[in-house]
Amino acid sequence: MSGILRVCTAAGCAGCGGSALREQLGAVIAAATTGDPASGLALKGVGCLGPCGEGALLELESASGRRLFGGITPEGVAAVAASLANLSPGTDLGTWAPPAARPIDLEQPFFRLQKRLVLEHCGRIDPESLAEALAAGSYGQLRRVLQENRPEAVIEQVRRSGLRGRGGGGYPTGLKWATVARMPGPEKVVVCNADEGDPGAFMDRSVLEGDPHRLLEGMAIAAWAVGASRGFIYVRAEYPMAIAHLRTAIAQAEDQGLLGAAIAGSAFGFQLELRVGAGAFVCGEETALIHSIEGQRGVPRPRPPYPAEVGVFGLPTLINNVETFASVPPLLAIGAEAYAAIGTTNSGGTKVFSLTGDVRLAGVLEVPMGTPIATIVETMGGGAPDGHAIKAVQTGGPSGGCVPANRLDTPVDYESLQELGSIMGSGGMVVMDDSTSMVDVACFFMAFCREESCGKCIPCRSGTVQLHLLLQKHLAGEADAADLAQLESLCHMVKDTSLCGLGQSAPKPVLSTLRHFRGDYLALLRPEPEATPEPVP
């Protein structure tokens, strides 16, 4: 009997049976191999396998191909393990049908329509093994660029690839790198923003948990290209497994001379430190992030100066998010032109999305930029369950907006989503069916921003509270037309006057639902009060 068993041990699956499954299957295989030294059966705990809503997940790979099973519950784990133990030694793994598990068709659109570059190794390799990462090709691009010794050529490649910031802003990555590279001074810093805070977004978690070395390689390449010798990964404390895997990966890479001094035998040194957040969404904003790395309150400051000029410890600083850095090694591997050809003219490459909410198949997927939203939520995600229709798709979290059902043909690229009053954001995509009140959704996000406002500037600190109160008044059926007008004008005021991106975008979920679902608001208004007496003639 030979083959590979992959158990998804990412946070989603681990919590619903994945950890137990790995443990018990491990015991079975250990027992089997002591009796049969020739057994080629291998068990791997891997990062995200994709359809998180179907967990726990088990993938079987044998000579006859790959098969995926889902829906394994904590109660069903023992039955799966027992069944494996009872297989006769000669059985082909390809014929084994684990009990208490549902086969998942790997040929369905969810898998078939993906283009996996960032997630290339995610779900394939053991994220805690550097050997597996190296075998899959990790650090190959870092070695190559160090050998070629032309940092400006790397920046030029990134520029030509059309890669743009995957954290939501969409700023051209090559341009950012070039700016930092041009800054004078002997010391520069590279920061990875892994403070994935949008509720409903977990793309970055999947990368951090499933293939941390890809991020480390991307950061090291960036550091070398811009001339930085220090780096920080700022990761949110809510991701304990990601933190653990990153710590392991950094230690392994330092051990093997892939981080630290004299990387891969070159003169290039890069000290990478992990900084764990302590629960503050606003730290995703880059100036707040800098303050937090410096051990201060995570409050933003006005820009300019931009971090590229004055960043961590006052040094020129390059800040990108997880997916942006993780896109660099595959981008260099396939070449800038091939990478740019994948996406649209203005948005090159692929984008990772986390798909959740009222959708049949929830999970993490990677598609070419420019893929229509409908393809993602309907064709790949299977649409809304239980006979419901999709009403809207929320993108960009608390800083984004809602795309109405009749605009789902919109391609996912930075400009198209902005035109609709939403944003690409970091990649959270929450599907809402026709039973959803969009006023409730807007109120939910406003409550979030109210809670996460840092409190420095008055429009955000106090404006989000007033907006939240107004939305609650609407939901309670106590608002009138004047309240609706006030809601709208206060939204614009907070958007136009807040100090940082959190406050400036906090009204977006309201403005976008007002634009596309005004009827939801109007339906909640109470009738106009009696008019005041007419002026006496």
Binding site: S453, C454, G455, K456, C457, I458, G463, V465, M493, T497
Partner: protein, 238 residues
């Protein structure tokens, strides 16, 4: 030093490089309201009252930190800006408990004055009536959180001028409040030198001398400016 020429509210001005729009406007006698800004302390651009419109950009920029640049065309008092400023003042009034009639700073309060200059004869937003405390533990001074607008002038003056760093901002968002030491009673914080600079720069009646009663507090920002000037330039004007 090179010169920048720009136009503010239709008036052509020439200012030295590095001058902020606020300085340029004030020197030309154009009033832009401010609250967190205080000459002599580092700018934080938090109150957003000094936002101005600049031709060629949709973004409103804070005059207190935006340097004048060549050819800039600035508007400081459009109807849009005036409405924004009134709303800012309403947001400040409604998030605290500002009862002018019984306030120690009545008649000498920058927030009260701003209500007048922005034409705020009532708040279009509802009052929130938060439950806040009063700290009377210090032998000479008091801190009434009801009247605090979180301009952080006290935090900055204590850190930047006195060097004691008794104050900081604690907590977050709507729960933000000025804290002394480990969020202790002010009187229990050893770091305080009793210098009273924080009281002097407070724009409202939040920080006050214990002996003062209604309408008796006067703030004297000029004292701070004289102090900072003397320290930097070693020049005294007795």
């Amino acid at each position: 030093m090179s010169v920048r020429t720009l136009r503010i509210d239709g008036r052509d001005l020439a200012v030295p490089e590095g001058t902020t729009l606020l300085q340029a406007a004030r020197e030309a006698g154009i009033a832009i309201p401010t609250l967190c800004h205080l000459e002599g302390l580092s700018p934080v651009a938090a109150c957003r009252l000094c936002l101005v419109e600049i031709e060629g950009t949709d973004k409103l920029l804070p005059a207190c930190i935006t340097p004048a640049s060549e050819g800039m065309v600035v508007q400081t008092a459009t109807p849009r800006l005036q409405d924004i400023r009134r709303t800012v003042v309403e947001l400040l009034f409604t998030e605290g408990n500002h009862v002018c009639a019984i306030c120690v700073a009545n008649g000498h309060c920058e927030l009260q004055d701003l209500a007048v200059t922005t034409g705020m004869d009532h708040s279009r937003l509802p009052y929130r009536f938060p439950a806040r405390r009063v700290d009377l533990s210090h032998p000479f001074f008091g801190l009434d959180h009801n009247r605090c607008i979180l301009c952080t002038r006290c935090v900055r003056v204590c850190d930047e001028v006195e060097g004691a760093h008794v104050w900081d901002v604690g907590w977050r968002g709507e729960h933000c409040r000025i804290i002394a030491g480990l969020d202790e009673p002010w009187g229990a914080v050893d770091a305080c030198t009793n210098c009273g600079k924080c009281v002097q720069v407070c724009p409202t009646g939040a920080l006050f001398h214990k002996g003062d009663t209604t309408a008796e507090k006067h703030d004297e920002p000029a004292q701070l400016q004289a102090l900072v000037h003397a320290r930097h330039h070693q020049q005294w004007n007795p």
